[in-house]
């Protein structure tokens, strides 16, 4: 029976955008399409991925966290959302768990994530 759901989901997976692979701990820049009236513009959301949920399903989402003016901001994006223009991986972090909720209680230096030694990304910073 699950195969039948896959048939429905595949139709929408077909036009799945080609994002680079990223996982929890990575720093990414999400380009989000924002529609204001009839005009469309791109907004960037740069932060740390703290989790990816429901992988390999239609409802897969990822949560990006950043600290803006001292206030923690988290945004949840559906992977299949047509509103995501593109995703850039800026940094690959070395973390020991898949859900980085411990970052919520930390600020500044304590919330740093070490970069992976085998990082394939040319660090921009």
């Amino acid at each position: 029976m699950n195969d039948l759901i896959k048939i429905v989901e595949n139709a929408s997976v077909e036009n799945k955008p080609n994002f680079p692979a990223f996982k929890a701990g990575d720093t990414i820049n999400v380009h989000v399409k924002i529609r204001e009236g009839n005009k469309e513009r791109i907004q960037q959301f740069k932060g740390t991925v703290i989790q990816r949920r429901n992988p390999s399903s239609n409802g897969e989402t990822f949560t990006v966290r950043k600290v803006s003016n001292g206030v923690g901001v988290e945004r949840i994006f559906p992977v299949l959302s047509p509103n995501i223009e593109k995703i850039e991986v800026l940094k690959q972090g070395k973390v020991r768990r898949a859900r980085l909720f411990y970052l919520r209680g930390k600020m500044g230096k304590a919330a740093r994530i070490r970069e992976r030694v085998d990082s394939t990304v040319q660090s921009a910073e």
Binding site: M1, I5, E9, A11, R35, L80, S81, P82, N83
Partner: protein, 209 residues
């Protein structure tokens, strides 16, 4: 009214473009049809107009002799689920095969009927949506989800018939109205509607228009 019998497959979510905005919509996948017309009832013969449809293959050894012959009249194999639709909007003959795409198109609004999941013996809060006792202070200590008074004092001094109380919940016939058809996939007999429908996965549902 016309309709078809189906089986609930499960739920998923899809992105749907509505005008300029894109929305993520929860939707249910139903495997509907193909259904065989097993009987056409007419006003002259049975006293009312109706069409009887059969869905899902049944084993011959599990079908009773009267039903076997009933299906034989329609020149078809035994079916597990048989349902009658009054005043069928579409003109059909005995033995016709109906598929989803014959009756439903994208954008249609349909009603879905099914049997709700059984929930066992439940209290009044879940069963009838009672509010329960407002707070846990002011002397309350063990009755947060209780129904309160049921029969008062000297008047009426009894419990009225039909008073809503705790008991068996679910397992009843439920109709959900005005679900939008998002997609019809003809080659797999699938129909996708917005929102939730009653019943467990693999349970039979009736889709009406």
């Amino acid at each position: 009214m016309s309709g078809i019998i189906g089986k609930k497959v499960g739920m998923t979510s899809l992105f749907i473009t509505e005008g300029t905005s894109v929305k993520q919509v929860a939707c249910t996948v139903i495997q509907a049809g193909p259904c065989v017309v097993t009987q056409v009832k007419t006003k002259e013969k049975e006293g009312y107009d109706a069409v009887q449809l059969g869905f899902d293959e049944a084993k011959e050894k599990n079908t009773t002799q009267p039903l076997l012959n009933h299906f034989k009249k329609a020149n078809t194999t035994p079916k597990r689920k048989v349902t009658e639709f009054r005043e069928f909007a579409k003109e059909v003959k005995l033995g016709d095969v109906l598929s989803v795409q014959d009756l439903f198109q994208e954008g249609d609004f349909v009603d879905v009927i099914g049997t709700a999941k059984g929930k066992g013996f439940q209290g009044v809060v879940k069963r009838h949506g009672f509010g329960g006792v407002g707070g846990s202070t002011h002397g309350q200590h063990n009755r947060q989800r209780h129904p309160g008074s049921v029969g008062a004092s000297s008047y009426p001094s009894r419990v009225f018939k039909g008073l809503r109380m705790a008991g068996r919940t679910g397992g009843n016939r439920v109709k959900v109205q005005n679900l939008k058809v998002i997609k019809v996939i003809a080659e797999h007999n699938l129909i996708v509607v917005t929102g939730a429908i009653p019943g467990a996965k693999n349970s039979y549902v009736i889709i009406e228009k």
